[in-house]
Amino acid sequence: MRRTCFSIFAVWILMMAPHLAYAQGSAPVAGLEAFDTPSDDGSSITLRWEAKGSGPVDVMRSTSRSGEYELVGEALAADQVFGDATVEEGVGYYYALASVTGGDTVMTDVTGPVAARSNWFRNARKNTMVATIVMFALVGVYVAIARRGKELYVRKIAGLNAIDEAVGRATEMGKKIFYIPGIMSLSEIQTIASLSILKYVSNLTAVYGTDIEVPNKDPLVFSAARETVRQAYMESGKPDQFKEDMVTYLTYDQFAYAASVTAKMVRERPATNFMIGSFFAESLILAETGQAAGAIQIAGTADVTQLPFFVTTCDYTLLGEELYAASAYLSREPVLLGSIKAQDAAKAILMAIMALGIVLLAFDTDIIVRLLKTR
């Protein structure tokens, strides 16, 4: 209600605008300027002014200098800024601020014309742009180096050496190996890393002739895992030993899957359990049942929330990004090694930036902190 009566009052004033426009009452604002809002899709214009006094001001807009001004919004003089988001791209607008001081309305001088433009770059995201380019460059360069056959050093990851032992144990005991590739789909990066480790493990089972089963929860992972195991058996010259039901699909639901897999574990008592990929609460059901069934367990996940369970119940756990490093270390595949080196380089850069930032803070300059502000 308050707004409508105010706009009627404003319209009445505007009809008399030419005489009142330059009434000399002291307007609480000065130096009004309007410009296209940077880094936007051409849908807003920003107004800025210096506050001389306080109290509300009305933002008036028109498409011609002396034409019909309409009310587009209210602001406080002290705000000194106003964003008009109701503009059309490319149309020239004129702005003025109307304020009521001592009974009569005082209009500031008109500013314009200004048009909103669709901008091609978000200035505030320069830092993310640099970071993205650096990351692409690092991965591109290191992968190129790796492809040219240059030897890239990656340290031994304890959990990985245990894989050969674990498969060996299963072969001696003539018992099954379970490989659980996590419960997320292919859009989850950890599942993709798990598939590379599955490739390595199924190469071993092909060579040793050990029985392996890969129960799946996600249909896309199910078909990708079957291709991966088939590929591994072909590459180690044992295509005949690959059986379709080595890779099975149980159900899509998290807990029905956990129930089915634990039931299988209790029935078939595997010698070795691999739980590598993305897991949630069902991780402890799988790990505890596997331990109770007497299996050697190797887990690996970047889901930090599940790491405590795996660390406490498994013999070896790939912590966080060791999972990604493992798929690179195992396959010795130049491309994966290259990206691990790229990640290490990025970590080194970040640690350097952090150290520099902390040192500069000691000298009261927070330039680094301001540079890293993301919006």
Binding site: W120, L138, K199, A224, R226, T248, A302, E321, Y324, K347
Partner: protein, 213 residues
């Protein structure tokens, strides 16, 4: 040809959200918003993808009378009933859930899933008893931190220590725990970003699998 189209598509569709992230231009962000809404629909189709597989496998199990085939009938019956009440409303043209669909969820799907989870309480207890051994320095630190935080989470802790347990537990969560979690997050985020780049640039292809032809 059948290999390159998917890889080119992954590159284009993968780069677009990154490009639109930096470019606010009206047309660019317009296409970006359309892509977001389009993926809502593609993801909707992807979610029940497992149905074809599950039905196929269980029919196979029933036909060959393999071990546990009666359970396969139970599974297919559950699937059919729930899907029927899920879809019948839409086919008949009215909107919202079919009342039976909600009752079935309420009295069957919900308790089954909740109870499955509650088993964890037992597994946690037995893991705490059997797996929690101070085998070495690291395991001891893990043990001590767990006990402090557990005492800090329950009113008993404060009662026994005159209110000092909750602040101590909060200190552990806010300082050492937050620092370690941050280290893991940064490392894992860089790992995921690098994996994303490999998938976009077509270096990482395992998810596509090798085509048989």
């Amino acid at each position: 040809m059948r290999r390159t189209i998917p890889l080119v598509l992954t590159f284009l569709v993968g780069m677009y959200p990154i490009f639109a992230f930096f470019v606010p231009h009206a047309t660019v962000s317009g296409v970006n918003q359309w892509l977001d809404k389009a993926l809502v629909i593609v993801a909707a189709f992807a979610l029940p993808l497992g149905v074809v597989n599950l039905v196929g496998m269980n029919l196979e199990k029933i036909k060959q009378r393999r071990a546990g085939w009666p359970y396969a009938i139970v599974l297919l019956a559950g699937l059919a009933v729930m899907a029927y009440f899920g879809v019948i409303g839409v086919i008949k043209g009215d909107t919202g859930f079919h009342p039976t669909f909600e009752v079935l969820f309420e009295s069957m799907v919900s308790p089954l899933q909740a109870t499955m989870f509650s088993l964890l309480a037992f597994y946690v207890a037995s893991a705490a008893y059997r797996a929690f051994r101070a085998r070495n320095v690291e395991a001891t630190i893990l043990l001590v931190a767990a006990i402090i935080v557990m005492m800090g989470r329950i009113p008993f802790g404060d009662m026994l220590t005159g209110g000092r347990m909750t602040p101590l537990s909060e200190w552990i969560m806010n300082k050492p725990n937050a620092a370690a979690q941050r280290g893991i997050i940064i490392g894992a985020a860089l790992g995921a970003a690098s994996m994303s780049i490999r998938v976009i640039l077509g270096i990482e292809r395992t998810y596509l699998g090798k085509s048989r032809d």
